[in-house]
């Protein structure tokens, strides 16, 4: 009986917490279907969380009239997924070398990498703009590749600077250290090389770490705002967050902002749910390996 009550109590706690975490976002989603006047009218009561009153899709139609939302979404999908894919590979390799292999300079590199965590992006964004514009760029016009200078106004200027990430390296590093070292020794006895150990043994065991780093890399890529404003001039290459500021005109369209915010949040949520499964699967696999 007490066990049952405890169980119920646990769930009650979970439900209350779920309300706390979900309600502001429910407010966002619900408001996205309401006209502006009603959003403010409902603010002082529970109606703020309920799809009541003059509910319609007007805000969503309005969004598409104001912002090339489909193009922005596509751009963000490209930018974020490429950043994630490259980031997982590049950072896990580095973390593997830093956590499981012995080489001169390892400690120095690790400390330096962790030190880079501390510098907020905003503080060096401007020198970076100048700097990426000095870098060489290979452009392919038809069949004529040519070297030019300056990365402004491309996809890659939104991707490459964010591939290597100290947080990701650090996280992989911490995770890899928890995988028993004896595995490496055994594999080496069997004649396997280090890269094979990384690729065939350690990485497959690191599902939760990959999932975490993927999310860790994806979110800032998806939410980037200041950087694309500075380096992307063509509307065709802009990511979703820049779209938000399209709504801050003299008379702010709050309903449309809610609609657009919902539109750009829901896909990530779906993605997270997909990663959830890989999480759960990896519990089973690590459980087996012990």
């Amino acid at each position: 009986m007490t066990a049952f009550l405890k169980h119920l109590g646990g769930h009650a706690g979970r439900v209350v917490l779920a309300l706390v975490f979900a309600l502001p976002l429910v407010f966002m989603l619900v408001s996205s279907f309401k006209p502006d006047d009603q959003i403010f009218g409902d603010l002082g009561s529970l109606r703020a969380f309920l799809p009541v009153g003059a509910v319609s899709l007007d805000n969503y139609t309005g969004v598409f009239e104001r912002v090339p939302a489909a193009q922005f979404l596509l751009n963000s999908v490209i930018i974020s997924s490429v950043t994630v894919a490259l980031g997982v590979i590049v950072n896990s390799m580095a973390a593997f070398a830093l956590s499981r292999m012995r080489w001169p300079g390892r400690k120095v590199v690790l400390t330096a990498v962790i030190a880079t965590l501390i510098v907020p992006f905003e503080t060096f964004a401007l020198p970076l703009v100048w700097w990426v514009n000095q870098l060489p760029l290979l452009r392919v016009n038809g069949f004529h590749p040519e070297w030019t200078t300056g990365w402004m106004d491309t996809y890659q200027v939104q991707i490459v600077p964010f591939v290597a990430n100290a947080f990701s390296i650090f996280f992989f590093h911490q995770y890899f250290r928890s995988v028993p070292k004896e595995i490496d020794e055994a594999a080496i006895m069997d004649g396997a090389g280090w890269f094979t150990i990384y690729r065939r043994i350690v990485m497959p065991l690191s599902g939760p770490a990959v999932a975490t780093v993927a999310i860790l890399t994806f979110l800032p890529a998806w939410n980037s705002y200041l950087w694309p404003l500075m380096v992307v001039q063509s509307e065709e290459l802009r990511p979703v967050m820049v779209g938000i500021s399209y709504f801050f005109q003299l008379n702010v369209g709050w309903g449309q902002i809610m609609a657009y915010s919902s539109m750009i949040t829901v896909p990530i949520l779906a993605l997270f749910m997909a990663f959830q499964r890989s999480f759960v699967n990896s519990i089973a696999s690590t459980g087996v390996k012990g």
Partner: protein, 311 residues
């Protein structure tokens, strides 16, 4: 990348050799594997950061017809006389001191809560994670609504206390503005660290728990002797990342309060961006960032020293 492939090629030709060869092989492979990340970090982080810091010793402006000139320590002298800079340091420290333990602890509690093998637990996990996937700009806008004097937060307070307590104008009052931002920041970020703790919890071998159960350990004991030691690596990560994120507090401030009221919420990074962009004093902002970097580095070194592993 090429180094790595070359190293791999060499790897295959050499079979079993003496230890020195194995060592060299290991070093080369390691360098090859670390190289892409290290090169990218140097090009896209180290170089611009050094450029930015170099600006701190000049009179560089955001917009200027004349090139920057070296002015020695002038920016630092000005900075140490700037009362708002001290306020921003104090606010940043205040924010970090509350948020780090609060968010780390709450995240661990949530992780334990959703690590249970109970039906529906994935649903809760997803819900707790919701704020994390929502952009901080959007979240800050939402909470600006909720925190209004006639907003929902006060409405809830008034309902729960049967009208006895009238909530303050959260963001408009210097006493409540920072606590309000702390609360919202934890709300937004805690789900992420819940996931990190969760990933850590899953690296703890199930046999250890089984063994503990066989020994008849209570839940408290299990936590103290199995879970907590098993989370050693995760702990460092969580602590370091929350600390650093807390020190870089910026977006919420920019959207919700712009540092006000009466400088009660301005932070070092907010101040740096405000002076660097809005006020066009690039060099002065760079000096601020440099000081900030040194301070945070010190704190994290101390933190790492305190949480160091006893090998």
């Amino acid at each position: 990348m090429t180094t790595m492939i070359a190293a791999l090629g060499r790897l295959r030709t050499v079979r079993r050799t003496r230890t020195t060869h194995t060592r060299r092989r290991e070093s080369l492979t390691a360098l090859g594997m670390a190289a892409p990340a290290v090169v990218l970090l140097i090009v896209f982080l180290a170089v611009p950061v050094v450029l930015a810091f170099a600006l701190a010793f000049t009179d560089a402006r955001l917009i200027s017809p004349t090139p920057a000139r070296f002015v020695g320590l002038r920016n630092f002298t000005l900075l140490f006389q700037d009362p708002v800079f001290y306020k921003s340091l104090r606010n940043t420290a205040y924010f970090a001191a509350i948020v780090v333990p609060l968010q780390a602890g709450l995240a661990l509690a949530l992780a334990l809560l959703v690590n249970a093998k109970v039906r529906g637990v994935i649903f809760f996990r997803t819900v707790y994670f919701l704020p994390v996937v929502t952009s901080m700009v959007v979240v800050s806008l939402l909470w600006t609504f909720l925190y209004r004097k006639d907003g929902l937060v006060n409405h809830v307070i008034s309902t729960l206390t049967l009208g006895h307590v009238q909530g303050p104008d959260w963001l408009g009052d210097p006493r409540t503005a920072m606590p309000a931002i702390i609360l919202m920041s934890v709300w937004q970020g805690v789900g992420f660290h819940m996931i990190i703790w969760l990933a850590g919890l899953q690296t703890i071998p199930a046999e250890l728990y089984e063994a503990a159960d066989l020994d008849g350990a209570t839940r408290r004991h299990r936590f103290r002797h199995v879970t907590w030691p098993g989370l050693r690596a995760t702990r460092t990560f969580v602590l370091v990342t929350i600390t650093i994120a807390a020190f870089s507090l910026f977006t919420q401030i920019r959207v919700m309060t712009q540092g006000g009221p009466l400088d009660s919420t301005t932070t070092v990074v907010h101040q740096a961006v405000h002076t660097g962009y809005d006020q066009q004093q690039t060099a002065y902002a760079a000096a601020m960032s440099l000081i900030f970097f040194v301070l945070v580095l010190t704190v994290s070194l101390v933190q790492r020293f305190l949480t160091r592993e006893k090998d």
